[in-house]
C-alpha cells in the first residue's frame, strides 16, 4: 500500500540553525504515530512542514502522492491551547464550525448539514451542552475538546495533534483516546506529539522518535525501547529515570 504521507530527505533550518536533518518517513493509513523526542527535537517543525506552514530547505513531502497545497483539505491540525486568545468574542459553536470552512467556497453559506456535523462532533467529545458557552469560560480540557471537535468537522484523512494530553483532566483524556481509536479504526492517519513516555505503549501503535534527525520509527513494540529512547533524549536522561523508563 502506498504511504499516505511520504517524507523524503526533509531538512529545515531557522536562521541558519538546523532543526531537522534528512528525515525520511513513510506513514500509513490506520496507524497512530506517537511523535516522541526531547524539547527542541523538531517535533513541531515536522508538523509545520507536513502542514505546509513553512518553507522546506531540502527534501520533499508528499500527501497521498501529491503536494501539500493540493491536499490541504485532507489535513486537520489540533494545535496547543496556549497559542490562542481565549477572550475572543466567540462561542464554542463558532469555533467548531470553523472546521466546515474548508468545505465552503466564498459564496456558500453554512447549512443545516454543517450544523449537524458540528453537533455530532461536539456530542462525541461531550461538549454539546457547552455549545453556546463563551470560549473563555471553558476549562483547559474543554478547550482542547473544542479544537478536536473542530478537527473532526474538517472530515480530514490525516490528523496532527500537538500535545493533546497536556494539562487536561481525566475525562478529557479518556474522550481523546476514544476519538483517536475511532479515527484509526476508520483508516485515518494520526500523528500525536506526546511527552509522557509512560503512556506511549498504551496509546500509540506506532512511534516516531526524533532528535533533530530521525532516531527510529515503526511499530511501538519494535522501536520504543531503551536504546532508541536514550538516543533520542541523550543529555535529558535524568528525566527518564524519574518516569521509570530507564533503570
Amino acid at each position: 500500500m502506498d504511504p499516505v504521507i511520504k517524507v523524503e530527505g526533509l531538512s529545515v533550518s531557522y536562521d541558519r540553525k538546523r532543526v531537522l536533518t534528512n528525515v525520511y518517513l513513510d506513514l500509513h493509513a490506520g496507524n497512530t504515530y506517537g511523535v516522541i523526542g526531547p524539547n527542541g527535537a523538531g517535533k513541531s517543525t515536522l508538523f509545520k512542514a507536513i502542514l505546509g506552514l513553512l518553507e522546506i530547505n531540502t527534501g520533499k513531502i508528499r500527501v497521498e502522492g501529491s503536494t501539500i497545497d493540493q491536499k490541504k483539505k485532507k489535513l486537520a491540525y489540533i494545535p496547543q491551547r496556549n497559542e490562542v486568545d481565549w477572550s475572543f468574542p466567540a462561542i464554542v459553536m463558532d469555533i467548531v464550525l470553523m472546521g466546515r470552512y474548508p468545505h465552503k467556497n466564498l459564496f456558500q453559506k453554512l447549512n443545516s448539514l454543517d450544523y449537524e456535523i458540528a453537533n455530532d462532533a461536539m456530542e462525541e467529545l461531550g461538549i454539546l451542552n457547552l455549545k453556546n458557552r463563551q470560549i473563555s469560560e471553558l476549562s483547559g480540557g474543554q478547550q482542547q475538546r473544542v479544537f478536536i471537535a473542530r478537527a473532526l468537522c474538517q472530515q480530514a484523512e490525516i490528523f496532527l495533534f500537538d500535545e493533546p494530553f497536556v494539562g487536561v483532566d481525566m475525562t478529557t483524556e479518556d474522550r481523546i483516546i476514544k476519538v483517536l481509536q475511532r479515527l484509526a479504526e476508520e483508516g485515518k492517519t494520526l500523528l500525536v506529539v506526546h511527552h509522557d513516555l509512560s503512556t506511549v505503549e498504551a496509546y500509540f501503535d506506532h512511534c516516531i522518535l526524533l532528535n533533530q534527525r530521525l532516531i527510529a520509527y515503526g511499530p511501538t513494540s519494535e522501536v520504543f525501547h531503551k536504546d532508541n529512547i536514550s538516543k533520542a533524549y541523550g543529555p535529558q536522561l535524568p528525566i527518564l529515570h524519574k518516569t521509570g523508563m530507564i533503570e
Binding site: 490562542v84 463558532d94 470553523m98 470552512y101 474548508p102
Partner: protein
C-alpha cells in the same frame, strides 16, 4: 435643541454633514472590531497619519478633488504598509518601532508639503481640516465617495467574514485551511486605508483611530459573539457620530473631537455599567462572593460549636474574622432562611437544614484535603489553608468528580469523616423494612459498612428478604444464609428504594 434639529434637517450642508457622519460612524464601527481584535490599533493610527502626503501631492497635481485625494491617500497608505513590512522583514527593528518610524516620517512629509503649498500658492489647504476633520464642508462628491467606500467595506466584510474570523482568531489554523493569512492582512490594511480616507472630512486623520477603536472596544464589553459585536459597534459608531455632530453644532466647536469625546463617554459608561464585564457588576459579584464566604464560615463554625454543645454568639465571635455587628446581620439573615435559629434571648441553635448546609462545606473541605494529599502529593500539614479557601469555591459538580476520582473516600487525611453529599445521607436504612419485604443492598455505603457486610458475606446488589424482627435485631434471608443483624447496624445499611 429644536433649532439644531431644524438646521440638521433643512440646511443642505448640515444634511450632508449628518449623512457623512452616520456613514463614517458605521464604517469605522464595523471595521474597528477587526482592528481591535487583530491588535492593529497602532497600524490603524499609522495608516491614518500616513495618508497626509498622498493627499497633499494629489492636491498639487490635480487640485481640490475628492477622487484625487482618494487616489493619493490609497497610494500613500500602500507605500506605508510596504515600508513597514519591509523594515520588519529586512532590518532588525521591533515591529511597533518600525510602524512608528514609517508613519511619523510620512506624516511629517505631509505637514511640510502643506506648509509649502500654502506658502507658494495662496490657495486654501488647511492643515487643521486634515487633522481634525471638517464635516461641515462636505461636498456631494465627498459624500458619494464616502458612501461608495462604506458599501465596499461592508460587502467585503460580509463576503470574507469567515476568512476574517479564522485569520483573526487563529491564523495558524486559517493557514492550514488554505486561507492566506498574509493576503487577508493586506486586505484589512486596504479596507483600513479606504476607511481612513472616507473619514478624512468627518473626523480627520488624528481622530479616526478613536472612531475605529473606541466603539469596537465598547462593543466587546457588551457581547461575546463577533457577529453581535460588529452590530453593536456599528450602532455605537453611528450614535457617537450623530451625537457628536449635534453637540458640536450646539457648542459651535469642531465636530471631529466632539464625536471622539462622545464615543469615549459611551465607553466609560459601558465600562462602568456593562451587565457582566462592567466594573460595577464585577464589584457586586465580588462582594456577593465575600458575603457568601462569610455566611458559610458562620455556618461551619456553628456546626463545630454545635457538636461540642457550645454554640453561642460569644464563642462564634472568637472564631470568625469579621466584626460583631456584621456577625449579627449575618445571623439575622441565617435565621430568616431557617439555617440557624436565633431565640429572643440570643441563644443559637442549628436547624437540620443548617446542619446539612454546613456539612456540605465540611465535605468540600475534607474532600479537597484528601485530593491534595492523594493526587497532588502534599503533606497533611500543607493542605488546610488551601482547603479553607477552596471549600467556598468548588462547585457541587466538581466535588462530585473529585469524590468519584478518589473512589468515594470516607475519611480525610487527618482521619475525620467526610460527610455525604447533600441528600445522600438520607439513607434508606435496612431497619425501616417490614417483615416479608425484600430489600436490595444499595451501592452507596460507607466503607465500614461495606466491610461489615463483607464479613457477613453480603455485598451491594444482594436481595434480602426480611423474615423476622424484634427490638434488638432484624432477621434476613439471603439465598441459603439466614442472618440476624443487630438494629444498630441495620440502621446504617443503606438499601435501594
Amino acid at each position: 435643541m429644536e433649532q439644531i434639529l431644524e438646521i440638521l434637517f433643512t440646511e443642505t450642508w448640515a444634511i450632508r454633514a449628518l449623512i457623512a457622519s452616520m456613514i463614517v460612524g458605521l464604517t469605522c464601527g464595523v471595521l474597528g472590531c477587526f482592528v481591535v481584535l487583530r491588535n492593529m490599533s497602532l497600524v490603524g493610527d499609522a495608516l491614518a497619519h500616513s495618508i497626509l502626503p498622498g493627499v497633499v501631492f494629489a492636491f498639487i497635481l490635480v487640485g481640490y478633488s475628492a477622487l484625487g485625494f482618494f487616489a493619493g491617500a490609497v497610494i500613500a497608505s500602500f507605500l506605508t504598509a510596504i515600508g513597514i513590512t519591509w523594515i520588519q522583514h529586512n532590518i532588525k527593528t521591533k515591529n511597533d518601532a518600525a510602524i512608528g518610524i514609517v508613519f511619523t516620517a510620512m506624516f511629517s512629509i505631509g505637514v511640510m508639503g502643506i506648509s509649502f503649498v500654502s506658502k507658494s500658492g495662496g490657495v486654501h489647504l488647511d492643515l487643521k481640516d486634515f487633522l481634525f476633520g471638517n464635516v461641515l464642508g462636505v461636498s456631494n462628491q465627498d459624500l458619494y465617495l464616502t458612501a461608495f467606500i462604506a458599501v465596499y467595506v461592508f460587502l467585503s466584510i460580509i463576503i470574507f467574514y469567515r476568512y476574517l474570523f479564522a485569520t483573526t482568531f487563529q491564523p495558524v489554523i486559517a493557514e492550514t485551511m488554505g486561507i492566506s493569512v498574509r493576503m487577508v492582512h493586506y486586505f484589512v490594511m486596504l479596507l483600513l486605508s479606504f476607511t481612513v480616507v472616507a473619514s478624512l472630512q468627518t473626523v480627520g486623520v488624528i481622530l479616526v483611530v478613536a472612531m475605529l477603536i473606541t466603539p469596537a472596544s465598547t462593543a466587546l464589553l457588551l457581547s461575546d459573539r463577533l457577529k453581535y459585536v460588529l452590530l453593536i459597534s456599528a450602532f455605537l459608531g453611528l450614535i457617537s457620530a450623530v451625537i457628536g455632530l449635534i453637540v458640536s453644532i450646539a457648542l459651535q466647536t469642531t465636530p471631529g473631537p466632539a464625536m471622539a469625546v462622545t464615543a469615549t463617554v459611551i465607553y466609560l459608561l459601558v465600562a462602568m455599567f456593562a451587565p457582566r464585564k462592567g466594573l460595577i457588576s464585577r464589584s457586586i459579584r465580588k462582594s456577593r462572593q465575600n458575603r457568601k464566604i462569610n455566611l458559610e464560615d458562620i455556618l461551619k463554625q456553628s456546626l463545630k460549636l454545635n457538636e461540642k454543645g457550645k454554640l453561642n454568639v460569644l464563642n462564634l465571635t472568637e472564631r470568625i474574622t469579621f466584626g460583631h455587628s456584621k456577625l449579627h446581620r449575618y445571623l439575622k439573615y441565617l435565621n430568616a432562611n431557617k439555617l440557624i435559629k436565633m431565640e429572643e434571648n440570643g441563644a443559637l441553635s442549628m436547624t437540620p437544614a443548617g446542619i446539612e448546609e454546613a456539612n456540605q462545606l465540611v465535605r468540600a473541605h475534607r474532600l479537597w484535603e484528601t485530593y491534595l494529599v492523594a493526587r497532588i502529593g502534599l503533606t497533611e500539614e500543607q493542605i488546610h489553608e488551601d482547603a479553607e479557601k477552596y471549600e467556598h469555591l468548588l462547585t457541587e459538580e466538581i466535588l462530585d468528580e473529585v469524590d468519584a476520582s478518589l473512589g468515594y473516600p470516607r475519611t480525610d487525611p487527618h482521619g475525620s469523616p467526610i460527610p455525604y453529599k447533600k441528600g445522600w445521607h438520607k439513607i434508606n436504612p435496612l431497619s425501616n423494612t417490614k417483615i416479608g419485604q425484600t430489600a436490595v443492598i444499595a451501592n452507596d455505603q460507607p466503607q465500614q459498612i461495606i466491610s461489615r457486610l463483607w464479613e457477613m458475606r453480603l455485598s451491594p446488589a444482594d436481595k434480602l428478604e426480611v423474615t423476622a424482627r424484634n427490638e434488638e435485631a432484624i432477621t434476613i434471608q439471603w439465598k441459603e444464609i439466614k442472618l440476624k443483624i443487630p438494629n444498630s447496624l441495620a440502621e446504617k445499611i443503606n438499601i435501594e428504594n
